[in-house]
């Protein structure tokens, strides 16, 4: 018989470590046709980082994302990056991109001020134009100013910047310090069906509410959350590296290392919580790793709600869950040994 259960798990997760140097750098070049080129050392691993960095540059330059050409991950031509790690790209690299774009803006404002008869600090970038704040009719196309900067003023509109969250040393006596610059928060709720005769756990639905600061690209945030939940389901129910008595892996292939397929995925409802972090680019923090942090805990809580047993070693395979059900509620299950 299938028994339905629900479980909740909450988490917080650190973004932008500060225990050691953690720099990202970027160069933004505004071209004479009004487009821009962004150089960044970070790499795209499918998460959409380059889209988000292009959006950040576009926002700072008042142009469209499609106007930004992103050159990435090539140490011949781009700045070195600390890495697409630690859920830091949007936050750390994003700040460097925003600062680099602002450096390029400064040059363009200096050049456009005399052309529009105002001080540089009275200008803003919007709709592919440089315009007097609150007087959009007094404007020049961005490309025209970029050309003027290059060809007449001899000041090409190139900005480079580095951002490094301020390093805070740990007090060696107390172990106290400030290891990260900011934090994100999330809650996930899992609904599961547990078959009390086979131990099989089916995840029916997961609701996921995540704080990531400003969601620069909500669809990518949703994709990250869904992907993280898939990993969390693997962690909760399936994935396990097994060794024989000689320490050799028994399942070094994807036939026997079991990961979820699309058929194992539940319905997912994503809620991106409204928030703004003043230390991040346009208020953004990050979302990558945090997405898979609460999933397994929520599922294990849901199993407890459904059949009254606590599984304390992962993955909660059907065999393990059935053994716990047979042992009776309240007993703790030890790791099952491999043959």
């Amino acid at each position: 018989m299938k028994r339905r259960g629900r479980g909740i798990a909450c988490m917080w997760y650190p973004i932008g470590f500060t225990v050691a140097a953690n720099p990202s750098a970027a160069t933004v070049k505004v071209n004479e046709d009004g487009t821009a080129t962004l150089l960044t050392g970070t790499v795209e691993t499918g998460q959409g980082a380059l889209t988000v960095l292009g959006q950040i540059a576009a926002e700072a330059l008042g142009i469209s994302t499609e106007d930004v050409h992103v050159v990435s991950g090539d140490t011949d031509t781009t700045p070195m990056d600390t890495g697409a790690i630690a859920s830091r790209t949007t936050y750390v690299t994003g700040n460097a991109v925003r600062l680099a774009a602002e450096e390029a803006c400064k040059i363009l404002f200096d050049v456009a001020g005399p052309m529009l008869g105002v001080r540089p600090d009275q200008l803003e970038m919007r709709d592919r134009k440089i315009q007097v704040k609150n007087f959009p009719q007094r404007s020049l196309p961005l490309g025209e100013v970029a050309y003027h900067a290059q060809a007449v003023k001899g000041r090409p509109a190139i900005g480079s910047a580095t951002w490094n969250p301020p390093t805070v040393p740990m007090d060696p006596e107390t172990g106290q310090g400030k290891p990260f610059n900011t934090y994100v928060y999330a809650t996930q709720i899992a609904e599961v069906d547990v078959d009390d005769e086979t131990g099989e756990v089916e995840v029916i639905r997961i609701a996921a509410a995540h704080d990531c600061g400003t969601a620069i690209n909500p669809m990518l945030v949703e994709g990250q959350i869904e992907g993280g939940i898939a990993m969390g389901i693997g962690l909760a129910l399936q994935e396990e590296i097994l060794f024989d008595s000689q320490g050799r892996q028994i399942n070094p292939n994807l036939t026997n290392y079991i990961m979820p397929t699309s058929l194992d995925m539940p319905a997912i409802e994503v809620d991106i919580v409204d928030s703004y972090d003043p230390t991040g680019p346009f208020g953004a923090k990050g979302v990558g790793e945090p997405t898979s942090v609460p999933t397994a805990a929520a599922i294990l809580n849901a199993i407890h709600d459904a059949v009254g047993v606590r599984i304390t070693s992962l993955p909660a395979t059907a065999e393990k869950v059935l053994a716990a059900i047979k042992a009776g509620p309240g007993r703790e299950m030890k790791q099952l040994t491999a043959a």
Binding site: T198, L242, N256, I258, T261, L263, T317, E319, A323, A339
Partner: protein, 296 residues
């Protein structure tokens, strides 16, 4: 991969002639979903691969005077789409549906599933529970045998080196026999069976008892097996949850599951018991709903 020759046979007759000429040196290629994996890893590759994938006279699924005939080239997708299979043997659709992924089902054949003869095959249990007959042929002639005798051991069948499987026939007496197939794997998609079970049975409408119950178990013995003791016990018993649970208990005792890293033998026995009872219950429910349809 070592080098080998490929010869295309356009029909069954050409394939049999090539098998007669090359004997044990030859291997047949239909969907290739198992053979190509073997060719890449095996130390001994065949001298000749006889490609029968275009021998369309082997592909049909049709009703004959003997029953439902499934040709050797019928893919899992063809089985799933066949109106005849869907009408008479939906359990076979369920089994083919759990084989591999869409691509595997588009290429892989039901007959190939039987010929590779791994204990966890999904095509075997429903066919065994429906008492299917296979036709084997060589240039010397044909012979027929019950599927249970075709399975000899893990990756070992009754096929001789110069023989090929022509078709699978589910006998006419079992057309529309209520049958259920259940598979338990470590996940839902692209999973190998830890245990799979098929059960077929008629229900006597007056006495509400099992008639000719047949139970087949996969992945719990060197080959797919029947559970004759459970079948004999169930014959003539009422279709109640208690009797189905007892049949499951008996069937679990007839299997010889192993313990490995996927599951313990004890857990596999638990699964046999549960899945057998559930498959019987589903077959009984099918019988009840068919009766309702005909009485309308």
């Amino acid at each position: 991969m070592k080098a080998f020759d490929v010869v295309v046979a356009k029909n069954a007759g050409e394939a049999l002639a090539l098998l007669a000429a090359h004997g044990a040196r030859a291997k047949l290629l239909a969907g290739g979903t198992d053979l190509l994996v073997d060719l890449k890893s095996a130390a001994h590759v065949p001298g000749v691969v006889v490609d029968i994938s275009r021998a369309m006279d082997l592909a049909g699924i049709e009703l004959t005077e003997h029953g439902l005939r499934i040709g050797a080239l019928a893919t899992h997708t063809a089985v799933m789409r066949s109106p005849l299979v869907r009408e008479y043997f939906p359990a076979l659709v369920d089994a083919s549906h759990t084989v591999g992924a869409v691509q595997t089902r588009n290429l892989g054949t039901l007959a190939g599933n039987l010929i590779t003869c791994v204990p966890s095959m999904d095509g075997g249990p429903p066919l065994l529970a429906l008492e299917a007959i296979v036709t084997l042929a060589s240039s010397a002639g044909r012979r027929e045998m019950p599927l249970g005798e075709f399975f000899v051991g893990p990756r070992k069948t009754a096929l001789k080196p110069d023989e090929m499987l022509l078709d699978i026939v589910i006998p006419r007496k079992n057309l529309g026999k209520p049958t259920a197939f259940l598979k338990f794997g470590l996940r839902k998609g692209q999973a190998l069976a830890l245990v799979n079970v098929a059960a077929s049975a008629w229900i006597d409408p007056k006495r509400q008892v099992f008639v000719e119950p047949r139970i087949a178990l996969g992945a719990v013995a060197p080959t797919v097996i029947r559970a004759p003791k459970a079948e004999a016990w169930l014959e003539g018993r009422p279709a109640t949850p208690e009797s189905m649970a007892e049949a499951g208990r008996i069937a679990a005792g007839e299997a010889k599951p192993i313990s490995d890293f996927r599951a313990s033998a004890g857990y596999r026995r638990d699964l046999i018991q549960v899945l057998t009872a559930r498959a019987l219950a589903q077959a009984a429910a099918q019988a009840a709903s068919k009766r309702k349809e005909t009485s309308r």
